[in-house]
Symmetry: C2
């Protein structure tokens, strides 16, 4: 196991009704910008309940809606400008990963004189940020408790990480998820499982505690994800899935080990190429292809995946069972289903490795290998 330095000060308010009490937890906050997405938070009343909660505490607020999936640096700049011009002391994201990540970029940008794109392209560290609070409306990205952020700009989808952008407080209220469409539920479950896979597939040895925690979490998601596909209003199932999602990306399942992240990098290229591709759906296609490609890299780890997570005897059976799970969740199994052409895959494979030469850690992949993986599931 490797040494680690872990710091996760996000306060989690979990359970039904918690979003109506967010105001009472925003101590020392007087002026907030509420950021939201495409309007469902507005239509279904979540936004107005959050606003009432702020009003009850005498907290002044502004609102801005319109963050889209695969959010852009341009929108984050808008948010940053309002934050700076109005002297705000907190950004409150009401939404999923796209809204939260927009706030993370804006929060860091508000404390930085240059262009926030520097954080993603020049290795510049985020040293300061406005406090961020979140009311989660889509459990998937795990951004509500993570130090990571991903943003789109100039046909690139890039990420970075900093302790300074972990939300100070996040509401995870499963009743807010009851109205999610099934394809979003499924993509969310795939994404959270992937966040654990990206950490679980490691060549670091002696990680048994964290590995067995990770296995238990993935098994939980695989039991309760399908229950949500049957009944999206199953509160008890949502509790389990939402907790997996929130812990999946807070760093816990990667403590003391090298993480991989090749599948996320490969998928981000696809979503950057065509923003209509849902991240989780892309991951459902990419992950089994990647697993097949790396299946000889570390046989004991692959075998452990097969037996402890999938309950199968062989690696091949384990990967097939994972495909069956994705299929049962209504996920695609071929990149052509997204309308991606062979030429598009070449562009994405080249772009994937353009900045860093190779991607991944479990096995470092060249752009030729990335292309092979894409092509194997075209």
């Amino acid at each position: 196991m490797l040494n680690f330095n872990y710091y996760n000060p996000t306060r989690i308010l979990f359970g039904k009704g918690e979003h109506t009490r967010i105001g009472s937890h925003l101590k020392n906050v007087s002026k907030v910008l509420i950021v939201y997405g495409g309007g469902s938070a507005l239509k279904n009343g979540t936004l107005s309940r959050v606003q009432s909660s702020l009003e009850a505490e005498g907290i002044e607020y502004f609102t801005i809606g319109g963050v889209r999936p695969n959010p852009t640096l341009e929108f984050a700049e808008k948010v940053k400008n309002i934050a700076v011009d109005s002297g705000l002391d907190c950004l409150l994201a009401v939404g999923g990963g796209s809204v939260i990540d927009t706030c993370k970029v804006a929060a860091a940008w508000a404390k930085y004189d240059g262009d926030a794109w520097d954080f993603f392209t020049k290795g510049l560290k985020i040293e300061k940020a406005l406090p961020i609070a979140t009311v989660l409306t889509l459990p998937a990205a795990g951004s509500e408790q993570s130090m990571r952020v991903v943003i789109n700009h100039n046909d690139l989808k890039l990420g970075t990480a900093s302790e300074k952008i972990r939300p100070m407080i996040s509401v995870v209220d499963p009743e807010l998820f009851f109205t999610l469409p099934k394809n979003q539920i499924a993509a969310g479950v795939v994404d959270m499982i992937s966040h654990i896979f990206e950490r679980y597939f490691t060549n670091t040895e002696h990680t048994d505690f964290i590995s067995s925690q990770a296995e238990a979490a993935i098994r939980t998601a695989m039991i309760y994800g399908p229950k949500l596909m049957e009944n999206p209003k199953d509160y008890d199932a949502w509790c389990q899935v939402a907790m997996v999602g929130s812990w999946a990306h807070n760093g816990y399942y990667g403590l003391g080990q090298v993480e991989d992240w090749a599948c996320h990098a490969m998928e981000h290229e696809l979503s950057a190429y065509d923003p209509k591709i849902t991240h989780g759906a892309g991951l459902a296609v990419i992950t089994p292809a990647w697993l097949r490609f790396v299946s000889n890299v570390n046989p004991s780890r692959m075998q452990r995946f097969a037996s402890e997570i999938m309950g199968k005897e062989t690696i091949e059976e384990g990967i097939n069972a994972l495909c069956d799970f994705y299929k049962a969740m209504g996920m695609p199994s071929r990149l052509s289903e997204f309308g991606l052409t062979k030429e598009a895959l070449e562009v994405c494979a080249k772009s994937a490795c353009e900045r860093t030469g190779m991607i991944g850690q479990f096995k470092k992949l060249t752009s030729e290998e990335v292309l092979s993986i894409y092509q194997s599931v075209h």
Copy 2:
């Protein structure tokens, strides 16, 4: 599942050599009191390495040694007086749970004008405390990451909890555990497992995510604890056990559910009655007796314990397997082995329920029931 509000801002520095770098992580700290125990930290050089690390950062420090197992309010008062008189801005515990808990009491007391015993007997909330840092030398109590504290006074051993006394930073450096005597290793492993049991045995339903995390953690401790009994210098085994110990008591395994704590309460009476009784050794005797006493309360939870944790078919087999595990760790199985008389047990049973009427939540126990449990393993 129940709603919860979880906040755990303790920074964990984990791994070999980390204790030599503690100074560099104590930002904004200029004057520290190092608190330690019986002298092993002094003799084996841990203390001087910690001091060097502070000196390298220009941090001024004082030291006070002499905290004993089952630490007292009186000693905490000494620490508090030095902290207040010298205008310290941080307490640095170098030790196990006793040293850390002494610092927690002193840290809260330094910000309170009355008697700190009020926090334990009058339900007074700890609203403020000096920052606490820790360098763990004995993984067992989990106090390095917990909001709980236990202290002895007037033949009572009482506890309380507050977010304000979670350490701001804790070093968990497994190489510091290599010189621990085997009986302390064993008692530590029993204690950390108990911290998870106290949460795992709940009547709250729909806790599958946390329950399966808890099961995986206990299984890890049961695999790696015995390896340490064979070789106390097994770094890789210590990594697993130390992580179980630190996460066991930080609140994670109790999220969203009612916790029990009857075994801890029953054992605290014994250790308060005779401070020579090691907490973990007491728990190894009490826990199976309690399990037998409550085995009909919630058969599905008990069955889950037997199959998922102990790998056995029946509840009885599960409890027997737990006894075998404790025995293999060299733990006692009878209270008479501590020299406790029947009369002593009567005193302890009465005292256990004196303040609250009943103890425990999985099944609320009267003092007569506590006595039956004690007597069943006398």
